[in-house]
C-alpha cells in the first residue's frame, strides 16, 4: 500500500526486453529495405550509412538485452557494411551481396531464436501491451473459454480443473484419448491440455493431438502438453506434434494459466492509424494507398486548417506531413499540433523534396521523429512508419500500464476514474470503486521469495481480468494493492461480485520451494453517487478496506456511511 510507484525498474526491464523481441521482425525488415537499395546501387551512401547505424544500434541494444548470438551475427554484418561506407574510395568488397544476405539470414535466425526462447517464458505474454488506446480496457470477452484436459491421473485432472475454474476457464476432463477425440468432434475447445503418456501408448497424447488436428481440418486447436517426463525425446515429440507449450508435472498453475491466456486470446491486431497531411490530393492518396496496402488505416487531410479537428476524431498513432504547403509550412503546423497538450507526444514524419540536411535538421528540432525525401520508396515508407507507430504504442503503453501485470498503472487508473465519474454524472448512472489489497503479502515475499510473490500478483491480476466485465477498469494501484472501477452497478452488487472473486482467488494454490500455499485479499468498496469525487471515493473505499483488514482480512466490506458522517471505525 505504501508503494505508489507504478512499476519497478526490474519489471520494466523485463517488459522492455519482451518489447524489443516483439519488434525485432519489424527492425529486420527495415534492414532488408536498406539492403535492397544497396543492391540496386552499392554507392547509395545514404543507405549504407543508415544500414550501418541501424546494425550498430541493433548490436548495442541487442547486447544490452542479453542476446549474445544476435549481437555476434549483427557484428559480422556491421563489419561488412562499414566497408561499403568507403565506396568509391575503396573497391566494392568481394561477394558483398552474397555475404550480407547470409549475415542478414543469420541475424534473422538469431532473432527468431530469441523470440521463441523468450515467448516461451511465462509472464511475458501480454497481448494488451501494444494496444494504443489505453482508455479502452482491452479485455476481450474471455469468459467461459473452453479447455479440454486429458490425463489418465484423476487427481491431476481434478486439481487442474478446479484451479482453472478460478481463472474463469470452463473445463472438461477426460481420462483417455478416445473420449477426448469424441468430445472434440462434438464441440471444438479453445485449447487442449494433454498428458503425453497414457496406458494406451507411450506417446498416446502426442498421437491424439495429431488426430485432433486432422479432424479439425485446417482449424488449429492450441495444445499444451503436460508430462512427468522432461527428457529431450518427449519434448521433441511434443514440439513436432505442434504443442505450443510444455509443462513438467506438477505444473505451476500460474504459468499454465499464463500460457493458456496467451493461446486463447483472440488478438485482433489493431491497425496503425496514420494521418496523412498533404496539400496535393494526389500525393496524399498515393501515400495513403501505400500505407493501406500494408494494413494501416489512414485519413487524408489536404486542408491544414482542419487538422486539429481531425486529430480529435481520428486519433492517429502518427502523422505523415508534407513539409511545404501553401497556407503554412509543416514546421508551423507541427508546432501548432504540439501546443495542444494531448498531442505533445504524437510522432510526426515530414515528407519533402528538401535535400538540405540543415533544413531537415531544423524540422527535427520542432520534435519531428523523422524526415523522408520525396519521392518515397514505398517499402521504406511502410518500414519507417511501422517502426515509429509501433514504438509509439509500446512507449504509450509503458506509460499507462504496470509492467508486471499489464494492468493499468496508478496514474492511468486515477485518470480513468475521473473520466468514469464524469460519464456517470452526465448519464445519471452509478459507479463503484473497489480497492483490493493482498493479505499479509510481505510474509509471502519473505517466506517464498519475490519471484513467487510476483506469481501471486500476476494470478490476482488474471483473476480480475478474466472475471470482470470488459467495461470495468482494472488497475494495479501500488505494490500489492489493486483497484477496480465498476460502472453502472450498485454498491450491493459490486460488493457481491468482488466477494465472488475473493472466494475464487482464495482457492488458487501456489507452489514454491517451501511448499504449497494460498493467498487471500481484502477489499473495500465505495460508490458514486454517495461519494462524488475521485478522491472521496478513494478515501471511502480505503476506509472500508481498512475495516476489512481489521475484521480479520479475507473479506469485502462496503462503505455504507454517508460522506461527512463519522465512519464506523
Amino acid at each position: 500500500m505504501t508503494d505508489t510507484k507504478p512499476l519497478s525498474p526490474r519489471e520494466k526491464i523485463a517488459k522492455l526486453r519482451a518489447a524489443f523481441v516483439e519488434q525485432l521482425p519489424a527492425r529486420i525488415r527495415h534492414a532488408h529495405v536498406l539492403f535492397e537499395r544497396l543492391k540496386i546501387d552499392p554507392e547509395d551512401h545514404a543507405a549504407a550509412v543508415d544500414l550501418h547505424r541501424f546494425l550498430h544500434n541493433l548490436k548495442g541494444t541487442g547486447s544490452s538485452f542479453g542476446f549474445q548470438e544476435l549481437g555476434a551475427a549483427v557484428t559480422l554484418g556491421e563489419g561488412l557494411v562499414a566497408k561499403l561506407l568507403d565506396i568509391p574510395a575503396r573497391p566494392v568488397p568481394e561477394n558483398w551481396e552474397q555475404r550480407l544476405s547470409e549475415y542478414l539470414g543469420r541475424i534473422e535466425k538469431a532473432a527468431s531464436e530469441a523470440c521463441s526462447l523468450f515467448c516461451g517464458l511465462p509472464g511475458c505474454d501480454n497481448p494488451e501491451f501494444t494496444l494504443p488506446n489505453f482508455s479502452i480496457q482491452s479485455v476481450a470477452d474471455c469468459s467461459g473459454r473452453l479447455v479440454y484436459i486429458c490425463d489418465d491421473e484423476v487427481l491431476t485432472l481434478e486439481n487442474l480443473a478446479s484451479q482453472l475454474a478460478c481463472f474463469g476457464y470452463e473445463t472438461q476432463s477426460f481420462t483417455d484419448t478416445t473420449a477426448l477425440l469424441e468430445a472434440v468432434d462434438r464441440r471444438r475447445p479453445d485449447a487442449l491440455i494433454l498428458d503425453i503418456h497414457f496406458p494406451e501408448g507411450q506417446i498416446a497424447g502426442v498421437e491424439a493431438l495429431a488426430e485432433v488436428r486432422r479432424r479439425a481440418g485446417n482449424c488449429d486447436v492450441p495444445a499444451i502438453f503436460l508430462s512427468a517426463r522432461s527428457d529431450f525425446a518427449a519434448r521433441m515429440a511434443a514440439v513436432q506434434a505442434g504443442g505450443a507449450a510444455y509443462f513438467h508435472k506438477p505444473a505451476n498453475v500460474s504459468e499454465l494459466v499464463a500460457a493458456l491466456d496467451e493461446l486463447t486470446h483472440q488478438q485482433q491486431p489493431v491497425p496503425y492509424r496514420i494521418l496523412v497531411v498533404d496539400d496535393e490530393p494526389g500525393l496524399a492518396s498515393y501515400h495513403s494507398i501505400i500505407l493501406q496496402e500494408a494494413g494501416m488505416a489512414t485519413y487524408q487531410v489536404t486542408d491544414p486548417s482542419s487538422v486539429l479537428q481531425v486529430l480529435q476524431e481520428f486519433l492517429p498513432d502518427m502523422v505523415l506531413m508534407d513539409m511545404y504547403m501553401p497556407e503554412c509550412n509543416g514546421l508551423d503546423l507541427a508546432r501548432l499540433i504540439r501546443q495542444v497538450p494531448e498531442h505533445v507526444g504524437l510522432p510526426i514524419i515530414y515528407l519533402s523534396s528538401e535535400p538540405d540536411r540543415k533544413k531537415q535538421f531544423g524540422a527535427m528540432r520542432v520534435g519531428a521523429e523523422g524526415f523522408m525525401t520525396k519521392p518515397v520508396v514505398p517499402c521504406e515508407l511502410v518500414a519507417t512508419v511501422t517502426i515509429l507507430a509501433e514504438r509509439m504504442r509500446i512507449l504509450r503503453s509503458l506509460m499507462a500500464r504496470d509492467s508486471l501485470t499489464g494492468l493499468l498503472n496508478h496514474t492511468t487508473t486515477t485518470h480513468l476514474l475521473q473520466n468514469a465519474l464524469a460519464t456517470a454524472e452526465r448519464a445519471g448512472g452509478s459507479l463503484c470503486l473497489a480497492m483490493m489489497d493482498l493479505d499479509r503479502f510481505k510474509l509471502v515475499n519473505d517466506t517464498h521469495g519475490h519471484l513467487v510473490g510476483d506469481q501471486v500478483l500476476l494470478a490476482l491480476s488474471r483473476v480480475l481480468r478474466q472475471r470482470l466485465r470488459s467495461s470495468d477498469i482494472i488497475g494495479r494501484y501500488g505494490g500489492e494493492e489493486f483497484a477496480a472501477i465498476l460502472q453502472d452497478i450498485t454498491l450491493d452488487r459490486a460488493t457481491h461480485l468482488i466477494d465472488e472473486l475473493r472466494k475464487d482467488f482464495a482457492r488458487v494454490v501456489f507452489h514454491s520451494a517451501s511448499g504449497e500455499f494460498s493467498c487471500t485479499f481484502s477489499a473495500g468498496v465505495a460508490g458514486y453517487p454517495a461519494y462524488t469525487s475521485g478522491e472521496l471515493l478513494r478515501e471511502a473505499a480505503d476506509r472500508a478496506l481498512y475495516e476489512a483488514k481489521r475484521n480479520g482480512r479475507n473479506c469485502v466490506v462496503p462503505n455504507t456511511t454517508q460522506p461527512g458522517e463519522p465512519s464506523k471505525t
Partner: protein, 122 residues
C-alpha cells in the same frame, strides 16, 4: 541524483533509465544530442549525463565536446556498442566509457560510483 539519459533508440534509453532508477536515481530521457543540450539548458538540476555514442547527426562524443565547450562539466558517461578503449583515447576527458551489454545493470552502477568518487562527490 537526477541523470539525463541520451539515446536515439527509445528502447535502449528506457532500459538504461530503468537500470538507473533501480539504484534510486531519477531519470530524464533525451532522444538525441540536441534534445539533450536543450534539456540541460533549461534544467539546472540535472547532475549527470549518460549518453549513447552512436546517434544520428551528433554522436555522444560530439555532445560531450559541445557541452564541454559551453562550460558544462557535469560527469559524463558514454555508452557504446563497440570496444570502449578507443573512444576513451579519442576523448580522455570522459568520466567513463562503457560497453552496452547484458551486464549493464551491474557495470553501470559501479562505473557511476567510481566516476563520482573520482570527482570527489561520493
Amino acid at each position: 541524483m537526477r541523470i539525463l539519459v541520451v539515446d536515439d533508440d527509445p528502447m535502449a534509453g528506457e532500459l538504461t533509465g530503468a537500470v538507473l532508477e533501480d539504484i534510486g536515481h531519477e531519470v530524464i530521457l533525451a532522444q538525441d544530442g540536441l534534445d539533450a543540450a536543450s534539456k540541460l539548458r533549461v534544467d539546472p538540476t540535472i547532475e549527470m549525463v549518460v549518453s549513447d555514442m552512436n546517434m544520428p547527426i551528433m554522436t555522444g562524443i560530439d555532445l560531450f565536446r559541445q557541452l564541454f565547450a559551453t562550460g558544462n562539466t557535469l560527469p559524463f558517461i558514454l555508452l557504446t556498442g563497440d570496444e570502449p578503449e578507443g573512444l576513451l583515447i579519442q576523448e580522455p576527458r570522459l568520466d567513463a566509457c562503457l560497453i552496452k551489454d547484458f551486464s549493464l545493470d551491474e557495470t553501470l552502477p559501479t562505473v557511476i560510483a567510481n566516476a563520482l568518487r573520482a570527482r570527489g562527490k561520493a
